[in-house]
Structures are given as structure tokens and as C-alpha cells.
């Protein structure tokens, strides 16, 4: 089914993310004139004006927060989430990546020591790649940018490609199913962005071609053998004295499909029922699909309220999902105030909120080394800090249902952490039972 594809960008400061997006828009002749004031005679020099929208961003010539743009290429439409490169804005980077179907990571070879025996990428590149993998982005394009600035661009391309391959080999989390593509380019000149440039032996796609192939791949992800999930947002009753009273559970189908007559299970209580009718946009339909906002009418009066999941029966098989009181996770700490182990936070999964405590903070991601480093046993010393990525363990105030495999693709396993007094969103993460001791 056709849908809007979201593309995100990542890279260090000044790697040219905004320039690349500006170039994609400009060269594909789809420049929307709301951004036209940025295009002047010296457009070549400042394509970033397309995406940097805040006064502080233009002042400093950097991207601070996620900027959303529409891009239409050969009739294909994309939503672009242009995101910040600064380490201090990693939280916004995580925000953008969580929405992305595909990611472009920019690499600036002029910042690397290309004569080193083993070329290393920048810590920010390792960090962005880790974020993307943890968030389950399946299509990642690594653009080796600014090759026009190098005396020996071919050597640079070979060296950086080697460094990328080493990163893929060392990847400390499971990245099965992730498709990576490496493209030599110059965003400023427009080489291999939309217009193909002669470059050594390179025969791969331009960035635009990669994007078009990615769209096909994203829309083609096989739908068979998936269990179905819908988070209940609210219950709806027909207004007034209707002759046929209606009570339905409203929500958006996150995955799979539901059809009239199907037996379903309500979590966390594991109640069962059959679907009597499905409404979407006020009309009756026979089936509802992933992404659709629907209202399901069930054949019996169950206590189904906001926060419950409606799932296909097969999801509750013990090898697929379980109700757990505690679980390990990958944790992104996003707030300026450090987290506290032992403190109670609000935890949102699906549409449900419970309380949860961090009971263990075991490992921290080290972007210099592209690995998770064990924190010492003196737990009290450690607090999750802003922009850090951790392996931690939570205890819950009530059991929650979590899936056992492919956590990055599981809607059940994603969570937000909210500080209960300020209501700030302080962290987010993905539960992964494989991080738990056996």
C-alpha cells in the first residue's frame, strides 16, 4: 500500500546535510517557492537556507532542531526530516531517526586522517549509525561527501569505504536486514546527488536513485506472517438514543491487519473476543490494515479501555511475547538533567502509561570505540546523562507485554520515559529481552 516515506539525514556539524537536501530539491526541479527567498545568484554557496528555519540556526549556520520538508521527485513524494549534527542536539537526531524509513549519513573525508594505517570514522558517525540501527532503520545510505575538495578523491573513497566496512563488521548490535549503500559525492557541486558524475570505477546509484529504490523496498516489506497489533486510544459510543447502540474501541493499527469475524486477544488481561465490525473514517470496512485509524466493534462487552492492546491470537504464543515485570533495554537519555537509578518515572508504551524504575545501568555506548563499555559495579556512581546511549534494566509497576524477537521493529517494545513532576520527556528506548540475564 502506498504511503508517505520519511527520509532522515545524519552527520557531524558542517558535513553538509542541509546542503545535500537543498541540492536534492534544487536539482530535481521541485523547488517549492516558499523556500525561494534562499535561492539567489549565490545559491551554490548557501543551499542550507532551505532547511534551517530558526533565527539562531541561520545566525550560527547550523541545524539545531528537526526541520520537516516535503520533497516530490518524479511524482514520488517524501517527507524529509533534516536533523542536527551537533552532539548536544543528539536528542533531536534521535527524534528524527525514529520517524525515518531511510537514513542518509554524511561523511566528510576532509575531517579524517586518510593516511592512517586504519582509517577511523568520526565518533558522531559511529553514534548516528548506532542510533539508526537501534531504531530499526532498514535502509542506510552513507554519502562520502566533499570529494571535490581532496587532492586524491579516489584514494579517499577507497579508504573511507574500508572504514565503513570495518564499522559494519564491528557493529555491536544485531543489524540483520539493514541494507547499506555507499555513494561518493559532492553535495555542493551536485555530483552523484541527482546528476551522475564520472567517478573512478563507481557504478552504484546516485542519492536520488537510491531514494527511489528504497521507496520500493520500504513499500514491499513482506506483510505475511506478521502478528497484528493495535493500541486502544479510547472507546466510542453512538451519540444519543440510537436504535442500534454502538460501542467500539478506537485506535491505529500498528502492524498487520484485522478483519471482520477475526478472533482477537485483548492485552494485558488476555481476554478474547471476535470482531463484529470495523469502521474507518466513518464508513464500515471489512478489513483494517497497518497504519489505518479504525474503530473495532467486538462481540462481547469486555473491559477494554485506553492503554490496552488488541492483538491477533498468535501474538500471545509464549515464544513471541510475554508479560514481564522487568526487562533490559537500550536507553537514549535525552534530557539535560541526568537520570536517577531507583527513581520512579512514567513509562509510556503504546497508549499505556505505568511507572518504572531504572534498576541497573550496565553499559554505555562509546562512540570513539564503536562499542558498549561495561560500567563498574558501583551503580550509585552512574547516572544516565544527556545524549548517552545505555544498556539498562527497568522494573515496572505492572507487567507489560513485550516481544521477544526483532525488538527494533516491535511497536510493543518502544517506550518513552516522562519525568513525573516536570512532565518532560527525559528518555526513550527499546526493550530487548536478549539483554536480560538468562
Amino acid at each position: 500500500m502506498d504511503r508517505l516515506i520519511t527520509l532522515s539525514t545524519a552527520g557531524s556539524v558542517d558535513d553538509g546535510k542541509s546542503t545535500l537536501l537543498g541540492r536534492l530539491i534544487l536539482d530535481s526541479r521541485n523547488l517549492h517557492a516558499t523556500s525561494a527567498d534562499a535561492i539567489s545568484a549565490d545559491a551554490e554557496l548557501d543551499l542550507s537556507e532551505f532547511t534551517d528555519g530558526l533565527a539562531a540556526e541561520r545566525e550560527q549556520k547550523i541545524t539545531i532542531d528537526v526541520g520537516w520538508r516535503h520533497l516530490s521527485l518524479n511524482g514520488d513524494r517524501y517527507l524529509l526530516a533534516d536533523s542536527p549534527g551537533h552532539e548536544q542536539y543528539t536528542r533531536n537526531q534521535v527524534t528524527a531517526a525514529s520517524h525515518a524509513d531511510a537514513l542518509i549519513v554524511l561523511i566528510d573525508p576532509t575531517k579524517l586522517d586518510l593516511d592512517a594505517p586504519t582509517v577511523r570514522l568520526l565518533p558522531q558517525t559511529y553514534r548516528h549509525f548506532m542510533i539508526a540501527t537501534l531504531l530499526g532503520i532498514r535502509d542506510i545510505c552513507l554519502v562520502i561527501n566533499k570529494l571535490d575538495l581532496l587532492a586524491d578523491p579516489e584514494k579517499a573513497f577507497v579508504q573511507v569505504t574500508k572504514a565503513i566496512n570495518r564499522m559494519l563488521d564491528l557493529q555491536p548490535v544485531n543489524s540483520a536486514g539493514v541494507v547499506t549503500t555507499t555513494i561518493p559525492a559532492s553535495a555542493l557541486k551536485g555530483d552523484n546527488i541527482v546528476r551522475r558524475a564520472e567517478f573512478a570505477e563507481y557504478t552504484g546509484p546516485t542519492v536520488l536513485e537510491w531514494l527511489q529504490e528504497t521507496k520500493i523496498r520500504v513499500l514491499d516489506i513482506p506483510k505475511q506472517d506478521v502478528t497484528s497489533v493495535m493500541s486502544v486510544q479510547t472507546t466510542l459510543r453512538s451519540a444519543g438514543q440510537s436504535s442500534q447502540p454502538f460501542r467500539g474501541v478506537a485506535g491505529r493499527i500498528s502492524r498487520g491487519r484485522f478483519s471482520v469475524g477475526q478472533a482477537i486477544c485483548v492485552l494485558p488481561e488476555k481476554l478474547t473476543a471476535n470482531i463484529v465490525s470495523i469502521r474507518r473514517l466513518g464508513d464500515n470496512v471489512s478489513e483494517g490494515f497497518a497504519g489505518q485509524s479504525v474503530t473495532l466493534e467486538l462481540d462481547r462487552e469486555l473491559d477494554v479501555t485506553r492503554g490496552a492492546y488488541i492483538v491477533s491470537m498468535s501474538l500471545t504464543e509464549p515464544e513471541r511475547a510475554r508479560a514481564l515485570n522487568a526487562c533490559g533495554c537500550h536507553l537514549f537519555w535525552l534530557d539535560g538533567t541526568a537520570g536517577q537509578t531507583g527513581k520512579s518515572y512514567l513509562l509510556k508504551t503504546g497508549t499505556r502509561e505505568i511507572q518504572a524504575r531504572i534498576t541497573e545501568l550496565n553499559e554505555k555506548f562509546d562512540p570513539d570505540d564503536f562499542s558498549f563499555v561495561r560500567l563498574s559495579d558501583q551503580l550509585a556512581k552512574f547516572q544516565p546523562e544527556c545524549n548517552g546511549i545505555y544498556r539498562a534494566r527497568f522494573r515496572f509497576s505492572a507487567p507489560i507485554w513485550l516481544e521477544l524477537s526483532s525488538p527494533s521493529e516491535s511497536v510493543l517494545n518502544r517506550f518513552l520515559l516522562i519525568e513525573p513532576q516536570t512532565f518532560k520527556t527525559v528518555a526513550a528506548g527499546i526493550f530487548d529481552v536478549r539483554l536480560d540475564p538468562d
Partner: protein
């Protein structure tokens, strides 16, 4: 007659319905309703989100006193026809109260709306305002979250926005503060018109081609109204025009058009080369950051 929506628009509609339904846990939500097409689409989506139940939220209109009468008639009729309760707060009342001071009597009241809006929020203790802003409208808007936090002064802090991951929205806010919720953030003007056409959503007649006396100025068509000044050297003519936005009468200009229904407007919009605020609004042009400045002090 209802028509099928495209795949992309279906996706956007489902997303918007989901966002609107997430506000059920917010404190006292209301739908910002100007009588314009974006707010009509949001109110329509709210009907779809809660059907067959009634939308549990009122419409809130901040009346600048500079509206075309067609828009006010439409507002009242829309609320009546679809069973919304309607709250109207007038900038005029804020002026009388002394909380709004205008530089001149006929000055644009666009910025002044923010004051009246915050007064309405305080009076009714609204905790969430569902609005029709879109990220494609303007650069500052492109930075906006779906659930966007405002403190008690209505201040938007673009550098302090809450991280917003996946579709897990943080619906909490402190008492006295409020949320602005933007279900159609990811829509474009074309999506709006496709949806209006396919669902046959009623809109003010100003949106469709009609004869109107206008004067050309710097590529804009200035309508003759009690609030716009036709300069002595300018000549006016009756032309077939329609409005792309129906904001403050003193600063909203129509475009030349023969489109008499939503499908025709959609066709025109698809080929239009200019963003709707660029050619039709006098106020956003004052500076590159005009919108950011207004939003920081509580604007929609």
C-alpha cells in the same frame, strides 16, 4: 459525492485521526477554528476520529473583528450543522480591556490575536488546543512538534522542544501551561484541497472564484475593503479571484482564479508555483523570522 483518497492522503488522514484521538487524555481540549480551510479540515477530521460519537471538544474562534462576513456566517453554520459548541473570544474585547493596543485603528490584528487567545485559554482553562498549522507553510512551522508545549505565557521555546519519538506523544502538561496539537502538520496545501474535494467539506465561499474589486501592487492583488488602502495612483478593476487563506481582512489578498469548486482549486494548486503565504500575506513578509517571533509569544 465522496471520492477515494490517494495512498499518501490516506496515510495523512489516518495519522491525523490518531493524533486527534491521543488528545482524549489532555485537560480540556478545544479545536482552534478560524473558519479557514485548515481549521475546517481539522474539525472534519475530529468528526471522523470520534464517529459515531460526538466530538467531545468545542470550537474556539479568536475573532479579530477583521473577518469577512462570509467567514463568520460559515463559522456559525458549520458549528450548528455538525453539532459543535462554539466559543468566540474577540480581539475587540481585549482592546476594550486594555490588554491589546494597536498602532493604528486599521492595523493588522494578526499579532493581537495571540493576546486574546491566551486570555481565552486562561479563562476556560484549556489544556490542549488542536490547530491546523502545517509544517510546509513556513520555515519556523517546519520545526514544530506535533504536541508542542507552551508555558503559561504561551511561549514556544524552539530550542527546548520535547523529543518526540515514533507515535508516542507526551500528552502531559503542567497546570497553567498548555499544549498545541497539530494533526495536519505533514499535510500540504494540495492535500488539503484533495481532502476537501473528496469529502465534500463545506468552506466559506471566499475560497472559490468570485468577482471582486482589486488593485495590483507588487504582484499582489489588494482587495477594496474598509480595512485596506487603495493608494491614489492605483487603479482598481473587477476581477475573478479567490482567496487561498482567509485571515485578517487588512492583510489577506486574493489570487486571480476561475476555480468554482474544490476539484478546480486542487487543479490550480497543483500547478501554482508559489507558496500560499508568499503571495497572499502582507504580514509574514516583514522579516524572515516574522512567524518565529509571533510564535514565540503565543501565536498559533
Amino acid at each position: 459525492m465522496k471520492k477515494e483518497l490517494s495512498g499518501t492522503l490516506n496515510h495523512l488522514v489516518d495519522e491525523a485521526v490518531y493524533i486527534i484521538r491521543e488528545t482524549v487524555v489532555c485537560r480540556n481540549p478545544a479545536i482552534l477554528f478560524s473558519g479557514g480551510k485548515d481549521s475546517a479540515v481539522v474539525a472534519w477530521l475530529a468528526r471522523l476520529a470520534f464517529a459515531p460519537a460526538k466530538v467531545p471538544y468545542p470550537l474556539l474562534h479568536i475573532d479579530t473583528g477583521h473577518n469577512y462576513s462570509e467567514v463568520l456566517q460559515f463559522r456559525d453554520e458549520f458549528a450548528r450543522q455538525f453539532g459543535f459548541s462554539l466559543r468566540v473570544y474577540e480581539v475587540e474585547a481585549s482592546i476594550a480591556r486594555g490588554t491589546v493596543h494597536l498602532p493604528s485603528e486599521n492595523a493588522s490584528r494578526n499579532t493581537a490575536q495571540s493576546v486574546t487567545l491566551l486570555e481565552a485559554i486562561e479563562a476556560e482553562e484549556f489544556g490542549a488546543l488542536i490547530g491546523g498549522a502545517r509544517r510546509d507553510e513556513e520555515k519556523a512551522r517546519s520545526k514544530e512538534r506535533i504536541f508542542s508545549y507552551r508555558n503559561a505565557f504561551g511561549v514556544w521555546e524552539p530550542k527546548q522542544q520535547r523529543p518526540e519519538l515514533w507515535d508516542l506523544y507526551n500528552t502531559h502538561c503542567l497546570s497553567g501551561d498548555h499544549l498545541r496539537v497539530f494533526p495536519i502538520s505533514n499535510w500540504t496545501e494540495i492535500d488539503i484541497w484533495e481532502f476537501v474535494a473528496a469529502q465534500d467539506i463545506p468552506l466559506p465561499t471566499l475560497y472559490y472564484a468570485h468577482p471582486r474589486e482589486v488593485a495590483g501592487r507588487n504582484g499582489l492583488l489588494i482587495p477594496r475593503t474598509p480595512l485596506t488602502e487603495i493608494r491614489p495612483h492605483e487603479t482598481t478593476a473587477i476581477r475573478s479571484v479567490r482567496f487561498r487563506t482567509v485571515g485578517d481582512m487588512s492583510c489577506t489578498c486574493p489570487v486571480e482564479s476561475n476555480a468554482t469548486d474544490a476539484w478546480q482549486v486542487l487543479a490550480e494548486t497543483r500547478v501554482a508555483e508559489i507558496g500560499e503565504r508568499e503571495a497572499t500575506r502582507l504580514d509574514d513578509k516583514s522579516s524572515k523570522y516574522a512567524m518565529e517571533q509571533r510564535k514565540k509569544v503565543g501565536y498559533f
